[in-house]
């Protein structure tokens, strides 16, 4: 099953779509005595990067390094040359993050209020905030739920709301941490379409390998290391064989 890419129809949402590059230099990370990432050095300059691996392989920690949610125990993560350790706010303006569980990401009680949350934090004036919120709600089919309580939305709508709350801030790159894990097939396809239509560069951590069709690069994590790195066709096949 493939969703195919429709680059020509992608939605322009980022304020500045200059290509970003994320560079990891000798990165290791431990949680207490437990090492989760070991000596990673790589550069992510592609538009579509997928990350796969077993549970506990370090891929979610890797994703969190990319916008400074996790600062490495050793080494450096640079986003367009900005160090996530010292230039965190600028890094987070450039790299948005969508979590696996949208319930943990939706902060305010109603749909429109939650979408506007990040813009309020950025100090965006109310008129512009309202315009950008409306634009994103319409784009993701949430305009009819504008004043609905967020917790009454379906799982797929909640994930769309979580994505809308990130995209309204116009990041240049979006990191998705298992965005379809809690969703049914129809909603998984819906989120896949949203991801493929994004103008922004994306990094997607996932167990749904179909999501990676048409990606530029796939990394396979195992025991805190990248054990395979290349085009999706070969890399995913190699990963599936290894897991069999």
């Amino acid at each position: 099953m493939r969703w195919g890419r429709r680059a020509a129809s992608r939605v322009t949402a980022a304020a500045d779509l200059t290509r970003t590059a994320i560079e990891l230099r000798g990165v290791s990370h431990d949680y207490g005595d437990r090492p989760v990432l070991r000596d990673l050095s790589l550069t992510l300059a592609e538009s579509r990067v997928g990350v796969v691996g077993g549970n506990g392989s370090g891929k979610s920690t890797f994703a969190r390094l990319l916008n400074g949610l996790v600062v490495p125990t050793e080494g450096t993560v640079l986003v367009d040359g900005l160090d996530t350790r010292t230039q965190l706010r600028e890094v987070r303006r450039r790299v948005g993050f969508v979590f696996q569980d949208p319930d943990a990401q939706i902060v305010l009680p109603t749909v429109a209020e939650d979408v506007g949350f990040g813009l309020t934090n950025l100090g965006v004036p109310p008129e512009e905030r309202a315009r950008r919120v409306e634009e994103v709600l319409v784009r993701y089919g949430l305009a009819g739920h504008r004043d609905h309580p967020a917790h009454l939305l379906s799982g797929g709508q909640k994930q769309l709301l979580a994505i809308a709350g990130v995209l309204v801030m116009a990041p240049q790159r979006v990191v998705f941490d298992e965005p379809t894990t809690l969703l049914d097939l129809a909603n998984t396809r819906r989120i896949a379409r949203v991801v493929e239509e994004l103008e922004q560069d994306v990094v997607v951590v996932t167990h749904h390998l179909d999501l990676l069709a048409g990606f530029d690069r796939v990394l396979v994590f195992e025991d805190g290391r990248v054990v395979a790195d290349g085009a999706p066709a070969e890399t995913v096949r190699w990963y599936v064989d290894r897991m069999s």
Partner: protein, 212 residues
């Protein structure tokens, strides 16, 4: 379960500033207790109902839903006065409380949570001299409203999981798994707040910003 009671309708009451509505509600609460005549209290209740249903065009069921949890207390109050004072005093007290509950329902049904929170933030502005950010107080209130239903859902899911394995009734045993889930949720929520810029310095405010 929902704590977000806003009913989206285009009406003058919806458009009125949240600060004005909350101020009038507070004034009504004081004024009602100065009213000693049944006819006046009944008239005020009718006026509030007219404002809610007629002017704000709120569905009657939205108001009834907010009044329903208070009914048992109103009945108890009336019974108390029938026993210890007289029916006239009891009816007056019940009318006062009912009017206040309906008026509060009109305010919450016509005002978005963010507008109410903005009033709280404005009222908390003097605390800024103590180093307290009013926006933080507002965020805590809004997040409380958002997460109470979510935590109730998680508790219900744990109850179901325990019932599926033969447990019955309400038990203390559900508290530990619920606490673990809430702590995990809090951890991810903290990350999400960081990722969405909640740790940024307070945004600049326009000069002369006034009450919402």
């Amino acid at each position: 379960m929902t704590l977000s009671l806003y009913v989206p309708v285009a009406s003058p009451v919806h458009r009125a500033p949240a600060g004005l509505k909350l101020g009038l509600l507070a004034a009504l609460a004081v004024a009602l207790f100065l009213v000693g005549r049944l006819a006046v209290a009944g008239g005020v209740l009718a006026a509030v109902l007219l404002l809610g249903v007629g002017v704000a065009r709120l569905p009657v069921r939205a108001l009834v839903a907010q009044v329903r949890p208070v009914w048992p207390w109103l009945v108890l109050l009336l019974a108390f006065h029938l026993v210890f004072t007289d029916w006239r005093t009891g009816t007056l007290v019940v009318l006062r409380l009912l009017t206040l509950v309906v008026a509060a329902a009109v305010v919450t049904s016509t005002t978005r949570v963010t507008e109410l929170v903005a009033v709280v933030e404005w009222l908390a502005r003097p605390l800024a001299v103590l180093g307290i950010r009013p926006a933080r107080i507002g965020l805590v209130i809004a997040m409380t409203l958002r997460f109470i239903p979510l935590i109730a859902e998680r508790a219900a899911a744990i109850r179901e999981a325990q019932a599926a394995r033969g447990a019955t009734g309400m038990r203390w045993g559900m508290l530990v798994p619920l606490l673990v889930q809430v702590l995990r949720l809090a951890h991810t929520l903290g990350e999400a707040l960081d990722a969405r810029g909640a740790d940024a310095p307070a945004p600049p405010r326009r000069a002369g910003a006034s009450a919402p």
